[in-house]
């Protein structure tokens, strides 16, 4: 009931704000802690790399520390000793690296990638892109990944088996795994599963209450902004055209709800990320690439759905023809 009332308030409020928002600057728009949206509309976000400075004056970027503060209650407490994923000899464990803020881990759902492009430092906050048609959600064999009404993709940690398929099918390999926690320990700890998968959930619980994700409210530079997707998209496009810059996330993997704005091409940013990883021989998960124009691997799904609908019709038609033919043959034999 409270949610409904709150939503109604936002709905009314957004009517007045929407037109003004289109011409306002990103900075002025972030003055409120409430998300402006009409009911059931997709929420999007932009991350403006021209504004983000990686919180140079702080120990930890504010988006990262606020995310950790909010979500620390969900961080895994694995049962020790951890067991390898038989027949393999390894397991995924981040429990001894809980303080790491330089990559995605089960204890760190967002981080700021610092890269140097043409001699200039670029700070790239990274987290789940919240795809429009998320492969992780579609292909989770246990149906434990959901998308909220606002479009935030989140994992049900109580039922996750930690097979890490979501990470394998994610275009950016975002989810990270912690062994020694979760349902698999109660079912077949040696043979199946491997822990629980963790990633940014877009603060869907806050969004459901009409509140903004903590990374936005904590950002001192107003570089992150959530709002109605179309509004956010328009703002991002306007900003990109103003700076003669580039956008990332609108078309990647068939479309996501996260749009990056940059004055340097994302191809260059991606190259810099890969180069840095190579230089550090960093092969572990948690530092996603930024390849441009990633295909939507779920794009064939509509074709298969159509085939699934046609299959019964084909079967019924073939049966009718076969029965008709056999009856005809029988009547010939009788004659």
């Amino acid at each position: 009931m409270i949610d409904k009332e709150r939503r109604l308030f936002f709905k009314k409020a957004s009517l007045g704000i929407a037109s003004g928002a289109m011409i306002a600057t990103p900075t002025t728009l972030s003055a409120t802690k409430e998300i402006k949206t009409t009911q059931n509309q997709k929420i999007g976000s932009y991350i403006d790399l021209t504004l983000c400075d990686g919180c140079k004056d702080f120990d930890t970027p504010k988006c990262v520390s606020s995310c950790r503060d909010k979500n620390s209650i969900h961080f895994p407490e694995p049962e020790l000793p951890l067991k390898p994923y038989w027949p393999r000899k390894q397991y995924e464990d981040w429990s001894n690296e809980r303080d790491r803020v330089d990559r995605l881990t089960p204890y760190n759902w967002t981080f700021v990638e610092k890269v140097s492009v043409n001699g200039e430092d670029v700070y790239v906050p990274r987290r789940c892109m919240h795809c429009d048609n998320p492969a992780c959600m579609n292909l989770c064999p246990f149906g434990t990944i959901e998308k909220s009404k606002e479009g935030m993709v989140h994992i049900d940690r109580d039922y996750c088996m930690g097979g890490a398929k979501c990470r394998d099918v994610c275009p950016w390999e975002i989810p990270t795994r912690q062994a020694g926690v979760g349902l698999y320990l109660k079912i077949a700890p040696t043979l199946a599963g491997g822990g629980v998968m963790y990633k940014c959930d877009g603060c869907y619980d806050l969004q459901a209450k009409g509140e903004l994700p903590v990374c936005q409210t904590a950002c001192p530079k107003d570089a992150i902004k959530f709002g109605e997707f179309e509004e956010i998209k328009a703002l991002a496009q306007k900003r990109a055209s103003e700076i003669g810059g580039y956008l990332y996330g609108l078309d990647e993997a068939g479309g996501t709800s996260t749009i990056y704005i940059s004055k340097v091409p994302f191809e260059e940013i991606n190259k810099a990320i890969l180069k840095d990883k190579e230089a550090k021989n960093d092969k572990r998960a948690g530092r996603p690439h930024m390849k441009v124009g990633i295909d939507d691997k779920m794009s064939d799904a509509s074709m298969w759905l159509a085939a699934t609908i046609i299959a019964p019709i084909a079967g019924i038609s073939a049966a009718a023809i076969a029965v008709h033919k056999s009856k005809k043959e029988n009547s010939k034999e009788e004659i």
Partner: protein, 244 residues
């Protein structure tokens, strides 16, 4: 000379069902993240098995074959009013008697065209195929961009689909396990070539009117030489015990 037991249509349906179900088992296992963990992808020529998109498209392909064949089968037999394979009252009790007789090597109660446990097995497998098709269709539907399915429905569909997967493995395992019993092996050629031995038909399926009639015509015309030796012997013994 043998008795016709399965039409060409039934044999094609059975073959396509078997191929698609085994294909679905393999690709379905591939959707559970196991092939990479269990290193099947490291076996030569099997690297593709760990690619979820490849196994998914093949899973879709086999499911479409199964759905088409399933609808064909249901409509074909419904239109021809052929319901021999559907379970009948008392099948559970009779199945126990037949299995008991097979295990103890005693004489089985007479059967119709299908053995009672065959009818029960058929119903079990068909039921779970229907469950898999419905839950699989929900899963396919929600994969399309722009289609939102409630989280609880998705969770339930995924869990029931997984349960159905294991139930079908049990069903198919039971179906194949039936061939551990020697008498059942006589039925194998029926699904491959469509025909079975007349003496076997007379002995075991004596309540299958059409089959028995055809047997008598064949035996009267060609003599018992058309039967397998051991079945002639069984036929004699069966007659002997009946006269006693």
């Amino acid at each position: 000379m043998k008795v016709k037991r399965q039409s060409l249509s039934n044999r094609i349906v059975h073959a396509l069902t078997a191929i698609s179900i085994f294909g679905l088992f393999f690709t379905g296992f591939g959707q559970m993240p196991v092939y990479k963990r269990y290193m099947l992808n490291e076996v030569p020529f099997m690297a593709w098995s760990a690619d979820y998109y490849i196994t998914l498209w093949w899973h879709y392909f086999f499911s479409i074959v199964l759905i088409a064949v399933g609808f064909y089968h249901l409509v074909y037999h419904f239109m021809r009013k052929e319901f021999d394979v559907l379970p009948k009252k008392g099948d559970v009790k009779e199945s126990v008697e037949v299995i008991k007789a097979m295990v103890l090597g005693k004489e089985e109660p007479p059967s119709e065209k299908y053995l009672p446990e065959q009818r029960l097995g058929y119903a079990f497998i068909v039921f779970w195929i229907i469950v898999m098709v419905i839950t699989g269709a929900i899963k396919t539907y929600k994969n399309v961009l722009g289609i939102e399915v409630d989280g609880i429905v998705m969770f339930a569909a995924a869990q029931i689909h997984n349960l159905g997967f294991f139930m079908l493995i049990i069903g198919v395992g039971g179906h194949l396990g039936a061939f551990l019993f020697k008498p059942n092996r006589q039925l194998l050629p029926a699904m491959l070539w469509g025909k079975i031995c007349p003496c076997y038909t007379k002995n075991r399926h004596s309540k299958w009117e059409e089959g028995v009639k055809e047997c008598e015509i064949i035996i009267n015309k060609y003599g018992k030489e058309v039967c397998k030796e051991e079945l002639i012997e069984e036929d004699k013994q069966s007659k002997h015990s009946k006269t006693k």
